[in-house]
Structures are given as structure tokens and as C-alpha cells.
């Protein structure tokens, strides 16, 4: 038994434990106050997974960048810009153009980090500001009037398979990402570059390409999430991406990916995403005021990381 457990990613296991704890605490609360066990009803859980899909897609992309030892702070406005432009364009080209924006942003981020060697934290921050500026310029700072196209709405809310398409999309994307990270050379290179770029470069690997690739994956995920969210709410709006940045980073880190890069498993990110979404949901059902939610949210992240065991600082 312990042998089996050892093969499972330890942070994933701990995060699962936390999920159970959160559900248990919530259930106790609802049993006492309402006499029902809302949190363990399948409909509730399915609904949460549907919501988690958006964050999950953003976090999936973020994880690739974090594995590279970088970070992408341009996610909020990549997401928003894709959704806003896509809805503005409308018609059959809405989705390709939305994704095209993600591709362009990813290439810009990647070039800045890989070729200009600007720290990603600051470069993507600048790109985020530029994107925001562009959107303000184009819309005059108001919410765009256009609405999501039919395919976008279908992708986000349709249920031809009995479960929401957004969940199916998340699952397919996850499979593709796991395959890429574990079975293809580029996946290995991502881990290697995140661990030690100099050694990877001297192994005859084009680390610049690997970096650009990682940022493109992240931005594509963000813009895809933007299209889905726009489809879900049937329109795009200013600052729609702001609420996804920190939870996405939190989901990646809570899932056990090393923020310094090179180490982490995708399963952790999925579990981390679900944990964050459930935590937010349970706190809002408990009618916790915003203040309390913020505090508990922060404390849970710290507590989890403390439980993971402390990563030994490098010495000597």
C-alpha cells in the first residue's frame, strides 16, 4: 500500500486531502444550518467542475511557463483581449482570430524573454499593460456591446455528451498537455530548460525556441479560456481576466509545481485548480464576507505549502 502511495505525486495526494477537508467542513456547515449536504451532491460537484474548467485551462498554460522557471503576468489581458476582439469580429472568424491574438502575445512574450533576456515577470507585466491600453483605446474604456458567437456559446455551455463542453475541452487539453510534457522531446526540453538553461543549451538544444514555445502555449490557453468565458457569459467585458491570474498561479503552485521551474506534474495542477475553485465556492456558500474569504484563501495556500514539506534551500 505504501509502495503504491509513493508512486503518486505527493503534493497531488495532499491537495486531494485538502479537497476532502474543504468538502467535509462545508458539508458540516450546510448540515447544521440547512440540514442538507449540498457539497457532496453530484449536481453541485458537476457544476463546480464546469466552473473549474476555465481556471483549469488558464492554469494549464501557466504551468508550462512556470515549469520553464518563468511566469506570465500578461494572462489577464491576453484572456480579455482575445475575448473582446473575438466577439467584436464575430462570425466564423471569431475563434481563429481570438486564438491568433493569443499566439501573437505568446510570441511577443517569448521573444522578449528568450531573445531580449528581460525577466519574464517584468516583460509580461509590460505586455499586459500594453494589451490593456490597446483595449481601452479600442473600446473607449466601456464594455463592448458585441456578444459571443454561436460556436463560442456552444463550446462553453453545450452538452451534447451529457457533460458541459467546457469540461470536455479541458479534459482534451489536459490529455494533450500531459502527452506533450511526458512523451515528446519538447516536454523534456521544457523541464530541462526550467532546471538549468545553460546546461540545456550546451546539450545542443535551442532553449530560445523552447521558451517561446512555452509562452505561446500559455497565451493560447489564456485566449482559449477567454473565448470560453465569453461564450459562457455570452459577452466579453473589461478586466474579465483579472480574477484568473492569481488563482491560476496558486493552482499551479498548490499542485506542487516548483515556482523556480523544472519540477512538477500536471495532475497536481488539475487537483490544485479544483481545490481553489471548491474553496472559493464553499466560502461563498457559507456567506463568508469578502474579507474573510480573502484571509482564508491566503491562509489555505500557505498552510498547504507548509504541509508539503519545506523545499531545502540551496546551500554551498
Amino acid at each position: 500500500m505504501s509502495g503504491v502511495l509513493k508512486n503518486i505525486h505527493r503534493p497531488t495526494l495532499i491537495a486531494c486531502g485538502f479537497i476532502v477537508a474543504i468538502l467535509a467542513a462545508g458539508t458540516v456547515y450546510t448540515l447544521v444550518t440547512q440540514g442538507s449536504a449540498t457539497f457532496i451532491e453530484p449536481t453541485y460537484l458537476l457544476q463546480q467542475i464546469k466552473i473549474a474548467a476555465f481556471l483549469g485551462i488558464v492554469a494549464a498554460g501557466m504551468m508550462v511557463v512556470v515549469l520553464l522557471g518563468q511566469i506570465d503576468l500578461s494572462v489577464p489581458w491576453t484572456l480579455a483581449a482575445s475575448a473582446m476582439i473575438a466577439t467584436a469580429v464575430g462570425g466564423p472568424w471569431a475563434i481563429p482570430i481570438g486564438l491568433g491574438i493569443g499566439l501573437a502575445v505568446g510570441i511577443a512574450n517569448g521573444l522578449g524573454v528568450a531573445f531580449l533576456r528581460v525577466p519574464s515577470m517584468i516583460f509580461t507585466l509590460g505586455v499586459n499593460a500594453v494589451l490593456r491600453g490597446l483595449m481601452v483605446m479600442l473600446t473607449g474604456g466601456f464594455a463592448p456591446q458585441s456578444s459571443a458567437t454561436k460556436p463560442m456559446i456552444w463550446l462553453a455551455t453545450g452538452q451534447p455528451l451529457g457533460i458541459a463542453n467546457s469540461v470536455v475541452v479541458w479534459a482534451l487539453l489536459s490529455v494533450a498537455l500531459v502527452f506533450m510534457l511526458t512523451r515528446t522531446p519538447i516536454g523534456r526540453y521544457i523541464y530541462a530548460t526550467g532546471n538549468r538553461e545553460a546546461a540545456t543549451y550546451l546539450s545542443g538544444i535551442n532553449t530560445r525556441f523552447v521558451l517561446v514555445f512555452g509562452f505561446v502555449v500559455c497565451s493560447l490557453c489564456a485566449s482559449f479560456a477567454g473565448l470560453l468565458i465569453a461564450g459562457y457569459t455570452s459577452k466579453a467585458f473589461q478586466a474579465m481576466g483579472d480574477v484568473y491570474l492569481l488563482p491560476a498561479i496558486a493552482a499551479v503552485v498548490v499542485g506542487g509545481t516548483n515556482i523556480l521551474g523544472g519540477q512538477g506534474r500536471y495532475s497536481g495542477t488539475v487537483v490544485g485548480t479544483i481545490l481553489i475553485v471548491l474553496l472559493q465556492s464553499v466560502l461563498s456558500v457559507m456567506q463568508m464576507p469578502e474579507a474573510g474569504r480573502q484571509i482564508i484563501y491566503g491562509l489555505v495556500i500557505i498552510a498547504m505549502l507548509l504541509v508539503y514539506g519545506r523545499n531545502n534551500t540551496v546551500r554551498g
Binding site: 507585466l125 491600453g133 474604456g141 523556480l260 474579507a291 474569504r293 484571509i295 484563501y297 507548509l306 546551500r315
Partner: protein
């Protein structure tokens, strides 16, 4: 002479930022109809103070090779606290100010403790504590409001001369050296100088403060050299918290109220990182300093000042369009950080790109 050249070559980042600031502010003041007057100085320094403090707060953890994403939330926390405490009798006001500063330092100390003893990456610790600090701010001030002593607000956001008129320092009329000298200086600038000289410079010149540079430069080497790593890191985050507290306190004094404004808090955090980088501090730690970040923050502020003064009818009129300001801010930030990229194309040994 040789030493001077050596020192200058070791602070090119700072000098570049200073040059950029002088150019931008000269443009601004020349175009401003009331440029180069005390009123404009006072107004500009009021608008810059909080960002400068938050940027200085960000600098210290960055020097150790860490980062503090909670500088904005700490500022907001102290801002809300101040709106509850800094009013009433002089004794209450002074106590309130001290409690505010202590609260900021404590928040920073908590960050430091989790980073040092919990051994978790600073970026993620401060991301989480930032949420906690914002939560506490919301508890303290669920809706904007609160009260700050009016006299205090008035004198700290004006020229020194108002000290005299408000508190009656010179009942027989101000002497010439005051009226035409110190009296014309904006109080926020004097406060800034005082904080830099009495907080930052002494800290930098202690073994603990220099330890922050040493840790950022090579933590393993610093440990082997017998430095107290834990103490320096704790001090870095605590001093960061203290600087953020100055910023929050001033924001409260300036606006006369408290506001748990989450977007504003995030904006300050992000701008502080930009200011640190523009000011010549390496995000990898080990080199730079809070004075550079002070100038970096001034550069950022000068950029937005400039947008106000372009003549809407002139050839640069399109620049005055407020809708364009965000995009220019972004572009200028990108350009500023890309200046360093020139180095990349001069590098003869590609391996040195990866360090």
C-alpha cells in the same frame, strides 16, 4: 578619480534612470503653464509619495533575490488602519502613526518568517499573505471612509510654510531663512529625504543590511561566510513592510480617508516592480538599492504627468487623449526594460546570457 569612475560604472542603471527622470520632468515642467513653481512641486510630490515608498519597500526583498507581491496590500492595510487611528488628540495621533508603522513592519515580519522558517518561495508566500492583508483591510474598512486629522493632512501635503501657519511655529513672523528657504520646500520631499537618510542608508550600512545584498548575490557563499541569513532576510521583509507602511500612512493622510481598494493595491504592487527594475536593481538580487527605486518611481510618475500637459490642439495633441495613456505607459515600461537588452546583442560569450 579612478575610484569615482569605478563607482559610476557600477551604478549605470541608477544614472540612466536619473537621466530619464530629468528629461521627462523637464519636458513636463516646460509644457506646464505653472511649471517650476512650488505648487506644482507640492502636487507632484504628493502624487508620487506612496508609489515611491511602495517601490522602496519592494526593493529590499528583491535585493535578497526574493520578491514581495504583498507591498500593495500592506500599503492598503496600513491605509485602512490609519483611517481608524490617526485622529483625535495629538497623543492619539502620534500613537496612531506609530501603531500604523508597527503594523506594516509586523506584516513584513510575518512575510519574512514564512519565507525563512517555512522555506517557501517568496513570490508565493507574499501572493498568499497579500490576500490575507487585503482581507484584514476589508474588515477594518468595509467601505471607503474614516477620518484623518485635518491639520496633519494639510501640513504634510503642502510646503513647509504651512507648518508655521497651521501650528504657529513663528508667532512673530517667519524669519527669512524659513520663509524663502525651507518654507518653500514641499513637506513630502523632506519626509522622503528623511526616510532615505534615517531609515534606508543606516540599514544599508549595517551588517544585516549588507547581508541582504550578499544573500541576493550568492546565498550559499553568504552562508558559508558565516552571515546570519535568517536575520538578514527577516530584516529585509520587515523593512519592506515599514516602507509600505509609510506609503499607506501617507496615502491615508493625503486622501483623508481609508479605502480597501483591491485593484489599486494590485496596481501599486505591479508598478513597484517596474520602478525597481527601472531604478537599476537586478530582479535576481545582489545589486541596486532603494534610492534607485525612488528614482524609478519618479520616472513612472513623470510619464503619467507628461500626458496631462500635452496641448490637445498641438501636433502632439493625440498624446493628450486619456484613452491612450495606458498603452503609452505599457510601451514605455517595455522600452525601459528593453534598454538593458542592448547588452544581450553585445555579449560575446553566449553562456553569460544564462546567469
Amino acid at each position: 578619480m579612478k575610484d569615482l569612475r569605478l563607482r559610476l560604472s557600477q551604478s549605470t542603471g541608477l544614472l540612466l534612470a536619473l537621466g530619464l527622470f530629468v528629461v521627462l520632468y523637464t519636458i513636463y515642467s516646460s509644457l506646464h503653464p505653472k511649471g517650476w513653481t512650488v505648487d506644482v512641486f507640492v502636487q507632484n510630490s504628493n502624487e508620487s509619495f506612496a508609489l515611491i515608498m511602495v517601490s522602496m519597500a519592494q526593493t529590499v526583498p528583491v535585493l535578497t533575490g526574493g520578491i514581495d507581491l504583498s507591498v500593495g496590500p500592506m500599503m492598503t492595510l496600513v491605509n485602512c488602519l490609519a483611517s481608524n487611528l490617526v485622529s483625535g488628540s495629538p497623543f492619539e495621533i502620534v500613537t496612531g502613526i506609530l501603531v500604523c508603522l508597527a503594523a506594516g513592519a509586523l506584516a513584513g515580519f510575518v512575510n519574512g518568517c514564512i519565507v525563512v522558517y517555512g522555506r517557501i518561495q517568496p513570490i508565493i508566500v507574499t501572493l498568499a499573505t497579500g490576500a490575507v492583508f487585503l482581507g484584514i483591510s476589508l474588515f477594518l474598512r468595509p467601505t471607503p471612509g474614516g477620518k484623518i486629522d485635518d491639520n496633519l493632512s494639510w501640513v504634510t501635503t503642502n510646503a513647509m510654510a504651512e507648518m508655521d501657519t497651521t501650528y504657529g511655529w513663528f508667532p512673530d513672523g517667519a524669519p527669512g531663512w524659513f520663509a524663502h528657504g525651507i518654507g518653500r520646500l514641499p513637506v513630502p520631499i523632506l519626509l522622503l529625504i528623511a526616510i532615505a537618510v534615517f531609515v534606508w542608508l543606516p540599514f544599508k550600512n549595517t551588517v544585516t543590511g549588507r547581508g541582504c545584498y550578499a544573500i541576493g548575490s550568492a546565498e550559499g557563499a553568504a552562508y558559508m561566510s558565516g552571515l546570519n541569513i535568517a536575520r538578514s532576510k527577516l530584516a529585509a521583509y520587515t523593512v519592506g513592510g515599514l516602507f509600505a507602511a509609510f506609503g499607506g500612512l501617507y496615502l491615508a493622510i493625503q486622501t483623508g480617508s481609508g479605502n480597501a481598494d483591491i485593484p489599486q493595491s494590485g496596481g501599486y504592487t505591479l508598478q513597484s516592480i517596474a520602478a525597481v527594475v527601472i531604478g537599476g536593481t537586478s530582479l535576481f538580487g545582489g545589486s541596486g538599492g532603494a534610492i534607485g527605486s525612488l528614482i524609478g518611481a519618479l520616472v513612472l510618475r513623470s510619464i503619467s504627468f507628461c500626458f496631462r500637459v500635452f496641448d490637445t490642439d498641438g501636433p502632439m495633441g493625440f498624446l493628450a487623449n486619456p484613452l491612450l495613456q495606458p498603452i503609452f505607459e505599457g510601451v514605455i515600461l517595455l522600452l525601459a526594460v528593453s534598454i538593458g537588452a542592448a547588452r544581450v546583442f553585445r555579449v560575446k560569450n553566449r553562456l553569460s546570457l544564462f546567469t
